[in-house]
């Protein structure tokens, strides 16, 4: 029996005016056998989430569905929420938004409570799941204290505690750092192989999962085709015309100079920056690499003057002409429409409607100028926030994880925009885990470790002598 089966499915979202929109899925047919680890690959907006949600009636989108969606041999539309919740687990993309309860133990029990599972049985399932996934050490923790990786493992655990036969995951690792991603995938792999749960993962970055996957499907322009795992595992460099100069950075006077900086957030906390020295030359694109919690974002805040270091000195010649793109672009999006968003800083930046129109055109958002920024995809929001900063022509551009959660096309567009800003004379300091992105745009790389810079080299030599790919 197939765990998930779509037969000639066409789906269109319901439009507000009652008219029908263009189909998101067109004549899609696919079959995921029981026990499989299937990948559903495609760019943002290709319909992956829609397809997964059609198999989960309680969260299925409103619209017109033609064809049949069957889960474990049953028509998904005919399943009552109770049966669907028991048989099909669902893990969402955002680690912050999908946790419901404020303690780990309550989150684990939430689904079981909803299904009216008796208390004894509930204790067994919660205990077994926690044992299996190694959650016991933080079982009594508050969910607000957990890292993004732990929150995502908790969401997986909360779904597994309900003992589903099929697990659907929508971009579950796109917001995680590489280490947390590998940890999450190893747990998912064990659940698939040892517990026999069928896993379907929708992802735009399948490279990390091809080793464990048993089959893959690619969604493009609303149509699906079987994809080769071997092809998906092959790394393809980002295509960025006018990207990294390839030369050593210019040896001009440094625009940013940081000397022996020590910084911590509380008097009894650990030092996040420990005697850190940094020089960034004018016109340089410098990437900061390093594991989670090594202090990359803190360094950006210190350079931006948002955090004052306890010891050491910071000189920033562009202190009055800098801009920072935070990890969450929503922290910059304050207006009701895309056009207003780009115009918010027009008086300060000395630009007008012509420049805004040109920026909208460049972003491919000319048709969406009157939409709310939240109606855009994650990648579009990131590009919009970046464009908002670049319109005011900062001398120093600070970027914190600019490609987090973005698909390949969006990462390429961000890289192109950074390259263009560089050629316009901006100096860029960016913190990221995305090595491919760094290869494409950075002149030089600093590896952060233990609160300071372990090594700083031009990008070419850095990657040539790096042990990691």
């Amino acid at each position: 029996m197939s765990a998930l089966e779509l037969c000639d499915v066409t789906f269109s979202y319901a439009a507000a005016s009652g008219t029908r929109t263009a189909p998101v899925l067109r004549n899609v047919s696919l079959e995921v056998p029981e026990g499989a680890f299937a990948l559903l690959v495609g760019a943002t907006g290709s319909g992956k989430s829609t397809l997964l949600r059609l198999a989960k009636p309680e969260i299925a989108p409103a619209g017109e569905l033609v064809g049949a969606v069957r889960v474990l041999g049953r028509d998904a539309r005919g399943m009552v929420p109770r049966d669907s919740a028991r048989a099909v687990g669902y893990v969402f993309q955002n680690p912050d938004a999908q946790v419901v309860c404020d303690t780990v133990w309550h989150e684990m029990a939430f689904g079981l409570e909803n299904l009216g599972v008796p208390e004894g049985e509930m204790r067994r399932r919660v205990a077994e799941t926690c044992d299996y996934l190694g959650i016991e050490p933080w079982f009594r923790a508050r969910t607000a204290e957990l890292s993004g990786g732990q929150r995502q493992v908790l969401s997986l655990a909360a779904a597994l505690a309900m003992r589903p036969r099929v697990l659907l995951l929508d971009e579950p690792t796109s917001m995680l750092d590489p280490l947390a991603e590998k940890n999450f995938l190893s747990l998912l792999f064990r659940a698939n192989r040892e517990l026999g749960i069928t896993v379907v993962v929708a992802t735009h970055a399948p490279e990390a999962m091809t080793d464990v996957a048993t089959c893959a499907f690619e969604l493009r322009d609303g149509e699906v085709r079987a994809a080769s795992l071997e092809e998906l595992s092959r790394p393809v460099p980002l295509a960025v015309p006018g990207g990294r100069s390839g030369e050593a950075p210019r040896a001009g006077a440094p625009l940013v100079w940081v000397g022996n900086v020590w910084h911590r957030y509380a008097r009894d906390g650990r030092w996040v920056l420990r005697g850190l020295d940094l020089k960034v030359g004018e016109g340089e694109v410098r990437a900061l690499l390093g594991s989670n919690g090594c202090g990359k974002s803190t360094l950006l805040d210190v350079v931006a003057g948002v955090s004052r270091p306890q010891r050491g000195r910071v000189r920033n010649a562009a202190a009055a002409g800098q801009a920072l793109l935070p990890q969450a672009p929503k922290a910059l999006l304050a207006c009701e429409t895309v056009r207003e968003e780009l115009s918010e800083w027009a008086p300060a930046g000395g630009y007008g409607p012509t420049e805004v129109d040109a920026a909208l055109e460049g972003l491919g958002l000319a048709g969406a100028a009157d939409r709310h920024p939240y109606d855009l995809s994650g990648g579009q929001q990131q590009l919009l926030a970046l464009e908002k900063l670049l319109l005011v022509r900062p001398r120093l551009l600070l970027l914190d994880e600019p490609t987090k959660g973005l698909d390949r096309a969006a990462r390429e567009r961000v890289a192109c925009r950074v390259a263009r800003a560089r050629s316009d004379g901006a100096t860029v300091l960016l913190a990221t885990h995305d090595r491919e992105f760094v290869r494409a745009v950075a002149d030089s790389v600093s590896l952060m470790f233990d609160g300071s810079l372990a090594v700083t080299e031009p990008a070419g030599p850095f990657f040539a002598s790096s042990w990691l790919s």
Binding site: K56, E58, I59, V80, P81, R82, A85, R86, G89, F92, D96, A97, Q98, V99, V100, C101, T103, W105, A109, L112, E113, N114, L115, G116, V117, P118, E119, G120, E121, M122, R123, A127, T143, A144, S155, M162, R163, P164, G269, G305, A320, Q322, A323, L324, P326, A328, K330, A331, A334, E344, W345, A346, A348, G349, Y374, L389, V392, R393, R395, L398
Partner: protein, 306 residues
């Protein structure tokens, strides 16, 4: 840094809840210098053990001035008593009036310190577990709110920091009022956006699926807890009687009299010392909680997929 252990964790939440409720109620209702002093001493002793010296002293930094303020302000409103200390213009300051103010100040500080201590022992999830099985939405709403507040505060910092870091947009720097409106609008939109996904996450896990909900109780009421509750009830009744007798005999004005026999205060001293004593003995040899199967589920639900 390792988190502090929760004090009185080996007892069911009803025991510390009754203990703290009793201590706070008696402190508030009995305006008596000896009772207020005993209560304040007990509250501080518990706070030092449960919250640590630093947190307790940090609290006292504003609590002691508050006590002094109430103490000194009382003679200005109530010029009663018989022991004249000094005259401030037309107002006379009497020792009895100062003593009344000090007692009131001590009552206020003691109640605050008790509540601070209680919040370490009765964490939110333990408090919510006290809610009835039928109270379905209340614990969930409280749980969501408990997450939302720190998340919004964190995001507010991020939003402000992002704007402060964009000095290049300095000419467009909004006024304080405009910035408040801008930040709160952004936070509201952001939270509403999250709530769409959170409600999907709830429905995906069977929320409103038509089953009668059961509840997972991390703590279980055991015979030891029931005995402790009964003993505590008896102690509280005795304390209430003693406090009533003490307060009936005591007079602040015109002269402080009617302290009564010392043993009248003994049960109250025991009650106020009890949280510290219980917390101190908590670590050694207290029985651990072991999960046992609980109540049966309603027919038709719960025996789901295996």
């Amino acid at each position: 840094m390792a988190a502090r252990p929760t004090p009185l964790e080996t007892w069911h939440a009803t025991v510390p809840a009754a203990l703290f409720a009793g201590a706070v109620a008696l402190t508030m209702l009995a305006v008596h210098p000896v009772i207020a002093a005993l209560s304040l001493a007990g509250a501080l002793a518990f706070s030092l053990g449960a919250r640590g010296v630093r947190a307790t002293l940090r609290g006292l930094r504003w609590q002691l001035p508050m006590l002094a303020l109430v103490c000194l302000a009382n003679p200005l409103f109530s010029a009663s008593g018989s022991t004249l200390l000094l005259k401030l213009g037309p107002r006379s300051v009497y020792a009895e009036s100062l003593a009344y103010g000090a007692t009131m100040g001590a009552v206020m500080v003691a109640v605050v310190v008790w509540l601070e201590g209680a919040s370490t022992a009765l964490t939110q999830d333990r408090l919510l577990a006290l809610a009835g099985r039928r109270a379905r939405a209340l614990p969930l709403v409280a749980s969501l709110a408990a997450q939302l507040v720190p998340q919004m505060l964190g995001r507010a910092r991020t939003v402000r920091a992002a704007l402060a870091a964009c000095t290049v947009a300095g000419g467009a720097r909004p006024t304080a009022r405009h910035e408040l409106v801008r930040t709160s609008t952004m936070l509201l939109s952001w939270s509403l956006e999250d709530s769409l996904e959170r409600s999907d996450a709830m429905r995906a896990r069977g929320w409103e699926s038509g089953c009668t909900r059961t509840s997972y109780r991390p703590d279980r009421l055991r015979a030891r807890d029931a005995v402790a509750l009964a003993a505590l009830g008896a102690l509280l009744a005795l304390c209430a009687a003693c406090a009533w007798a003490a307060c009936s005999g005591w007079r602040f004005y015109p002269r402080m009299t009617g302290l009564g026999p010392w043993w009248r205060y003994l049960p109250l001293a025991v009650l106020f010392a009890l949280p510290s004593l219980a917390a101190a003995t908590d670590g050694g040899g207290a029985p651990s909680r072991v999960a046992t199967p609980g109540a049966a589920a309603p027919a038709g639900c719960g025996r789901g997929a295996r």
